[in-house]
């Protein structure tokens, strides 16, 4: 498997990985804002967010229809849809693509669910590797606490209840997350994860992330030609208010 740079794509893909509650989504959001505010071409894509596949996935989850195999396949379908319709064309067009979770999430999760590792890796071998992969490594207790403090209602699959690890969702979640962490750590060297200490303050982590990105990518290659950030409506996370202001400011100048 090769990275997008090795495949001579003009764009670059940056992925973040980590346990639920590791703070990776906050970090990639801040990274995105930093890149956008420099006027760079940036696109953000989130795991399990393809419009096409979403209906089937949520039905499967709600009605607990999913087995480890179909759980794996439906997420691979979601990924393929985003990969072929958004990521690849944007990378061809020279974008910096930010992914909140990439194939490593499947490698860890599906294997914990009992799918054969070679099978899962085979499913995703149509995808190129990220140019940079940040792994947010928090102590298991820290990430568990962040989730358990904020969202006491754990969902069935999220808590790994389908694995019958425990009848208590909290206990099940703990064991499940612990196994995920083991899988991630085992992949860390093989896939050149840039490991960030996620027990640190948000600002400290972000400073390291930005420094590494600036060091490893030639950001000047991604400057957009006097256009506002693309598709602000495609956002699923916090509305990029600063970006909207920028957009209005540019319109005013014109």
């Amino acid at each position: 498997m090769k990275t997008f740079a090795e495949l001579n794509f003009p764009g670059r893909l940056i992925a973040v990985e980590g346990l639920d509650g590791s703070g990776k989504s906050t970090q990639i959001y801040l990274l995105k804002r930093w890149l956008e505010l420099q006027g760079l071409r940036v696109y953000f894509s989130e795991w399990n967010s393809s419009e096409l596949v979403k209906a089937a996935t949520s039905k499967g989850k709600k009605r607990e229809l999913l087995t480890p195999t179909t759980f794996s396949l439906i997420h691979a379908t979601d990924f393929a849809d985003r990969y072929e319709r958004h990521l690849v064309p944007l990378l061809r067009a020279g974008y910096i693509v930010l992914c909140d979770r990439y194939i490593f999430t499947a490698f860890a999760r599906d294997v914990v669910r009992g799918c054969p590792p070679e099978w899962v890796r085979g499913l995703y071998n149509f995808a190129a590797l990220p140019d940079l992969t940040f792994f947010f490594k928090a102590d298991l207790e820290v990430s568990l606490q962040r989730i358990l403090d904020g969202r006491p209602q754990l969902k069935y699959f999220e808590a790994g209840m389908d694995l019958r690890l425990s009848t208590d969702p909290y206990e099940s979640f703990r064991i499940f997350q612990g196994r995920m962490l083991e899988q991630y750590l085992a992949m860390s060297t093989e896939f050149n994860f840039l490991v960030i200490d996620a027990n640190q303050l948000v600002e400290n982590q972000q400073a390291v992330v930005r420094e590494l990105v600036a060091q490893k990518l030639s950001l000047e290659n991604f400057v957009r030609a006097e256009r506002p950030p693309p598709r602000p409506h495609a956002e699923t996370r916090k509305p990029p208010r600063a970006a909207k202001r920028l957009l209005h400011a540019e319109e005013a100048v014109e």
């Binding site: 089937a56 480890p68 691979a76 393929a80 072929e84 499913l123």
Partner: protein, 243 residues
């Protein structure tokens, strides 16, 4: 005496089972007492007619049967249909969507039915899915890994009907050709008839290739419905008797 022999119900003999690849986690293969029979062939090859007749015959012979087919899963069939209507899925996505549909039926219908000793009749199986993807240029190794989840059937019958006849049968039935069965997404020709012929020719060629790997039984489809059914019954009878 003769009558008694006719009423005798053949109890299927047990045989070795295996998955094509990694299979489905935690399945105990030796507990699958039923039989999996697959009928493959293009649209218009007579599959549905033959399967309906086989069900009659099997039930008459004292076998419980269940039918599965493509795009019939609870999990994704509706969504898959919807997505195909819009023709907006790229090829890897479509391929994985079908694989999800297949795996859902495998785990929720085929395997439980086999465990309960049913005869499962599959109206197409992974071979059609693989052939479609291969014609669209997908990697064969990738597909083999993807469908390594599949259980090896007890018998696979491919109803062989040349494209020239398929096109006639499709017209007789619908007075039109299906977008996907004509391979219109491939851009082989803007003329639908032309595209259908080219696509079905390519599919038939791919099936011949897959036959060399998976060894299915080719059944000549250019005969009367009854003649084809008699041959299928004879061959399935032999499978059930463990011959």
């Amino acid at each position: 005496m003769k009558r008694a022999a006719q009423n005798q119900i053949v109890v299927p003999r047990r045989t070795e089972r295996r998955f094509y690849g990694h299979g489905i986690p935690k399945v105990e293969l030796d507990r699958l007492a039923g039989r999996l029979i697959v009928v493959e062939g293009a649209d218009g090859s007579g599959r549905s007619t033959q399967i309906a007749m086989l069900v009659e015959w099997m039930e008459g012979s004292g076998h419980a049967s269940v039918q599965v087919g493509l795009k019939r899963s609870t999990l994704v069939s509706e969504e898959l249909e919807q997505a195909q209507q819009g023709n907006i899925l790229s090829r890897t996505t479509l391929s994985l969507f079908y694989a999800t549909d297949f795996a859902d039926q495998l785990e929720n219908i085929i395997l439980p039915a086999l465990k309960a000793g049913f005869i499962v009749l599959a109206d197409r199986y992974i071979y059609t899915l693989m052939a479609r993807d291969m014609v669209r240029g997908m990697d064969e190794t990738w597909l083999k890994n993807l469908y390594g989840t599949a259980l090896e059937p007890d018998a696979v019958f491919y109803l062989n009907v040349p494209p020239e006849e398929l096109v006639q049968r499709n017209f007789a039935k619908n007075a039109g050709l299906d977008y996907w069965e004509s391979g219109m997404d491939l851009g082989l020709s803007r003329d639908m008839f032309d595209s259908f012929m080219k696509y079905q020719t390519a599919m038939a060629k791919t099936f011949r290739y897959l036959q060399s790997i998976y060894g299915f039984t080719i059944v000549e489809g250019m005969r009367s419905v009854d003649a084809v059914n008699a041959e299928l019954r004879k061959k399935i009878g032999a499978v059930l008797a463990g011959k």
